[in-house]
């Protein structure tokens, strides 16, 4: 082995703590990169093949009822490749708190649009009427087995269906009933696929459909095609036209995939950038330390290049070691992450594949960063002239610091604190590096816990502030006042209030949008119209209250008029309504109106299609059991049930999230603080050893370094909080969609957690340095002038 190579390995061994810390940051960076990029790619690939293989439709139109003859016309629209009319209906199960969506499929398996994957059991048998295939997760969560009988109520009539299979569909990769539900509740809501014949009979829709899905040649042309479809179906009561990218499941999946890409970029850059910084401090210190040696080597005839290469090589080796660990960790993390996705997303298979090109790429990126980190030190090393090396280094020069102008404070400070103050200002670069590390780390903590805060906040906003009812009954059609009185008379019901939800096409000039208008009582106690500032907005006597998103899309403001075209039922007459208010809301596509005013628009003195109940505590379930098969009741929702299963799902993810956040923020904080401290320890070992000689204890000597870290850490934390908040703000903006606005809400708890964790991380780094302070050899250090 060449002597220079030998020295390289000795150096690595000697600085193994620091070298390992560098490798750890590189490990985090590559692990992040590999994990996020391969999960991203796996997800993208899985999704695209899944969509293609099972023919996920490019568009979906929901309507009142159209005869099958219209399907021909739709298919003949230029650009349309294929259409399928089907029957889709929300139903109640005979099990409390469970609702389902009936979706019809061809009687015989024939690869239709929005096909299903039969995961267990079989497809419907020839001519069988009452068979059902249940969405897999729903079946699992409720312990249904093949052969079980499922009782449902459709259109006021009860049916018994035999479960013949469990299935998945590209339409329901993420199974959420409505955007407001936010997270899937696999136990409470499932898809029931039934044969076309059954659906037609049960809903009295023979040779008709209420939902059509279609594929097109060119998705770019969708707008024009949908307009043509509308012309065809105009008289059949369209109430929603949905492009694939706006479909709930598809848009959630697309958002997630986009988020992964962004995260991959951010996390990789942050980690590897930090590793470059740590390498930079480590090497700068090393070159300064080895000046004499470098000079000597050059005097012996080593070239500048070989000296520079020596230091670059050092960082490349550390980086390579980190990379190898990162490959393993990245793939393990990818596996874990896919498991988490598997919980939310229902893909027929989620591959955890190793992509060699990603591995190669990550190695390349890591090496690039390592190279950048070592560049300045190597250049400095190559510039050292043999003669320079023999000249002693410039002495450290003491400076007064700003703090000293605060006379009374300065006088009261012990010399330890004076030393710390002057040190921080003396080695400003290192101090800022420390602070920077803590800033990034606390920013990550805040960002991580912020996403949990957001979900929890939304839950309490939705379920405590906005929706105060215990039970919500949905009716199959519009009802009169009598339904309200009847609801109020149910045993254990304290209060009943009406609700009217009706879909309209809202128009302003050529701009239009399908919107569900919610009619509510003006002084109702169970539903409040809330804006994002948690203020209750009065719905008024007449006029529309629009969410900001809708108002922007339609280009209307307060006082403007919009045209309302009912999208359902017998009423087809268009009306105009004035916009009375525009409110900022988390869920985008809603509009509100006084229930009486909305009823009048529908040509009725009073109409309602849902009742909100306030019940005696604990009686919600028995009430819902009673109502399940009442006539005209299409769904009964119990709030506590909904909350419970949401909390379950969220709880599981909190653990995974917290683990990931802790690891990353911890490694980042630790490796920076540890390295910076060791470098400053090495630089000051003479000072510190002479303190020991004077009779300072290990703890007293250590506390100078420890407290210095706490001071820089505090600065880092103070910067980290606004930094974290800025990231959160950016996240909120990045993830804002038509459907949903993320709340910018950071719980005070998150700041406390960030502070506590930062202190813990610094304490751990300090503890790791402790050994080195104990190992200070007074005799040795004081003997030689370095």
């Amino acid at each position: 082995m060449k002597p220079l190579t030998k020295k390289l390995f000795r150096t690595i061994m000697k600085t193994r703590g620091q070298s390992l810390a560098v490798a750890a940051v590189v490990l985090c960076g590559t692990a992040c990169f590999i994990c996020l990029v391969s999960v991203h790619r796996n997800l993208l690939l899985t999704r695209d093949t899944y969509y293609a293989q099972y023919r996920f439709a490019d568009f979906e139109i929901m309507l009142e009822r159209a005869p099958n003859t219209t399907l021909f016309k739709l298919e003949n629209i230029p650009g349309v490749r294929q259409v399928r009319g089907r029957i889709v209906e929300e139903v109640n199960l005979d099990l409390p708190g469970r609702t389902g969506r009936l979706v019809s499929l061809p009687n015989r398996a024939e690869s239709p649009l929005n096909d299903i994957v039969v995961r267990k059991g079989r497809y419907f048998s020839e001519g069988a009427q009452n068979e059902v295939i249940v969405s897999e997760r729903f079946a699992q969560a409720n312990h249904f087995s093949i052969g079980d009988i499922l009782r449902i109520t459709v259109d006021g009539k009860r049916h018994a269906l035999k479960i013949v299979g469990e299935g998945l569909s590209p339409e329901y990769v993420i199974l959420i009933r409505s955007v407001q539900d936010m997270v899937p509740a696999p136990e409470r809501f499932g898809i029931l696929w039934v044969p076309q014949d059954f659906a037609e009979t049960a809903l009295s829709m023979s040779a008709a459909y209420n939902n059509v899905v279609g594929s097109v040649d060119d998705p770019e042309q969708l707008d024009a095609i949908l307009d043509r479809c509308e012309d065809v179906l105009d008289s059949y009561g369209i109430f929603a036209k949905i492009k694939q990218k706006n479909q709930i499941s598809a848009s959630f999946v697309a958002d997630e995939i986009r988020g992964l890409e962004v995260m991959a970029r951010i996390m990789t850059t942050v980690c590897l950038g930090l590793s470059a910084l740590v390498i930079f401090i480590l090497l700068s210190r090393m070159v300064r330390n080895e000046r004499t040696l470098i000079g000597l080597m050059k005097a012996y005839g080593y070239s500048n290049l070989s000296v520079a290469t020596h230091y670059v090589l050092f960082s490349l080796i550390l980086s390579a070691v980190g990379c190898v660990g990162g490959f393993a960790a990245g793939h393990a993390m990818a596996g874990g992450m896919l498991k988490m996705y598997a919980q939310f997303y229902q893909f027929p298979l989620l591959r955890s594949q190793v992509y060699p090109d990603i591995v190669v790429k990550s190695l390349g990126i890591a090496i690039l960063f390592a190279f950048l980190g070592s560049l300045s030190a190597s250049i400095r090393a190559s510039r050292i002239r043999p003669a320079d090396a023999m000249r002693p280094e410039a002495p450290v020069i003491g400076h007064r610091v700003l703090l000293e102008s605060w006379g009374w404070l300065w006088v009261r400070m012990g010399f330890t604190w004076k030393m710390i103050a002057r040190n921080v200002s003396r080695s400003r670069f290192r101090a800022s590096l420390n602070a920077f590390g803590v800033m990034i780390s606390s920013g990550i903590i805040i960002m991580g816990f912020f996403s949990l805060d957001g979900i929890q906040y939304m839950l309490s906003f939705q379920f405590e502030l906005a929706e105060k009812e215990d039970v919500k009954i949905s009716f199959a059609k519009e009802m009169g006042k009598a339904a309200l009185h009847e609801s109020a008379r149910i045993e254990n019901v304290l209060l009943a209030e009406p609700l009217l939800q009706y879909p309209f096409e809202m128009r302003n000039g050529w701009k239009k949008k399908d919107v569900v208008v919610i009619g509510m009582e003006r002084d109702g106690k169970l539903r409040d119209l809330m804006n994002t500032d948690e203020e209750v907005v009065d719905v008024g006597e007449r006029g529309l209250v629009l969410s900001e998103t809708i108002a922007e899309q339609l280009g209307v403001g307060v006082g403007d008029f919009v045209t309302l075209k009912p999208l359902m039922g017998r009423i087809t007459k268009e009306r105009t309504a004035s916009v009375s208010k525009v409110v900022k809301q988390y869920f985008g596509a809603s509009a509100y109106m006084n229930i009486n005013a909305l009823s009048r628009i529908l040509g009725e003195p009073f109409a309602m299609n849902a009742a909100l109940l306030d019940t005696e505590p604990g009686m919600e379930r028995s009430i819902s059991d009673q109502l399940n098969d009442a006539p005209f009741v299409s769904a009964v929702e119990v709030k506590v049930d909904a909350l419970e299963s949401l909390m379950d799902t969220i709880g599981q993810n909190i653990a995974i999230m917290t683990g990931a956040i802790l690891t990353f923020s911890g490694v980042i904080a630790f490796s920076i603080i540890y390295n910076v401290t060791l470098v400053s320890l090495a630089e000051r070992q003479r000072e510190l050893a002479s303190l020991r000689v004077m009779g300072f204890t290990h703890r007293e000597v250590g506390s100078i370094l420890y407290n210095e870290n706490f001071v820089t850490g505090a600065i880092g934390l103070i910067l980290g909080i606004p930094f974290g908040m800025t990231i959160c703000r950016l996240m909120v903006n990045a993830f804002q969609t038509d459907l949903y606005r993320m709340p910018y809400h950071i719980a005070p708890r998150t700041f406390i957690i960030a502070t506590v964790l930062t202190v813990v991380f610094i304490a751990i780094s300090n503890f790791a340095v402790r050994n080195k302070i104990h190992g200070l050899d007074m005799v040795e250090v004081l003997k030689a002038r370095e």
Binding site: P395, F415, V693, M694, T697, E700, L782
Partner: protein, 246 residues
């Protein structure tokens, strides 16, 4: 046992150290280097002891062991009635803290503390310290109190180091070539300061030097060679610093 800080304990002439067959060996792989080969010596309170000897003869090793920086391979060092060989790390620290002042050839001042603050650093951990201003006055540096080390000359820095060492009122000052890096004139100022401390505060001084003529300052002159004491000369008439020629 506890190492009590008791600066007034003992009177001039009473034994303060008893060093008994001290051996220090360094194992260097196959070979063993003997730095001290059975050194015995008694030191009295208030004594000014000069240690001479060629390079490598074990002077620093002896001083470091006496000062509690290093432990001997065998043999005992009695400080009054306490045996240093039985000390643990913490007791060594307390011993140095309460009884010992060190001065080295290199000043080892904290570069980012002023002269006065460097002295305060020592007084802060001491039970019965001299006022830092007074300590600086003893080495005639009152007017440089607010200067940083980089603004002081070598001799001035060494005097700050002395002020720092004596501010704790140590009973023993251990000086390893304090004038080694200084010119004659500056060296004399430093030696004067040491002498002043020895005479006024009764501090025992052990001083290592390569310079035989400095020997005249001491009460006794010890010559070391090959890890052992060769001769001990009683100096009947201590010279003043101005009388020393080198």
């Amino acid at each position: 046992m506890a190492v009590a800080s008791n600066p007034s304990a003992g009177t001039r002439g009473a034994p303060i150290f008893r060093i008994d067959s001290l051996v220090k060996e360094y194992a260097m792989g196959e070979v063993t280097v003997s730095a001290l080969r059975g050194v015995s010596l008694e030191v009295k309170q208030g004594e000014f002891l000069v240690i001479l000897g060629p390079s490598g003869s074990g002077k620093s090793t002896l001083l470091n062991i006496v000062g509690g920086l290093d432990a001997p391979t065998s043999g005992d060092v009695w400080f009054r009635d306490e045996n240093l060989s039985a000390f643990n790390e913490r007791q060594f620290t307390l011993y140095r803290r309460n009884h010992i002042g060190f001065i080295f050839q290199f000043y080892n001042l904290m570069p980012n503390l002023t002269a006065k603050e460097n002295v305060e650093m020592a007084t802060e951990i001491s039970v019965n310290p001299i006022d830092p201003v007074e300590a600086l006055a003893l080495v005639e540096l009152t007017d440089r109190a607010d200067h940083f080390p980089s603004q002081l000359s070598g001799g001035e820095q060494q005097r700050v180091a002395i002020a720092r060492a004596i501010a704790k009122r140590p009973e023993i000052l251990l000086c390893d070539e304090p004038t080694g890096a200084l010119d004659v004139a500056t060296g004399k100022i430093v030696l004067n300061a040491l002498r002043a401390v020895n005479e006024r505060v009764d501090t025992t001084v052990l001083l290592i030097t390569h310079n035989a003529s400095i020997g005249g300052l001491g009460d006794r002159i010890i010559r070391m060679r090959d890890g052992g004491i060769r001769t001990i000369i009683e100096n009947k008439r201590r010279l003043s610093v101005d009388e020393v020629e080198w």
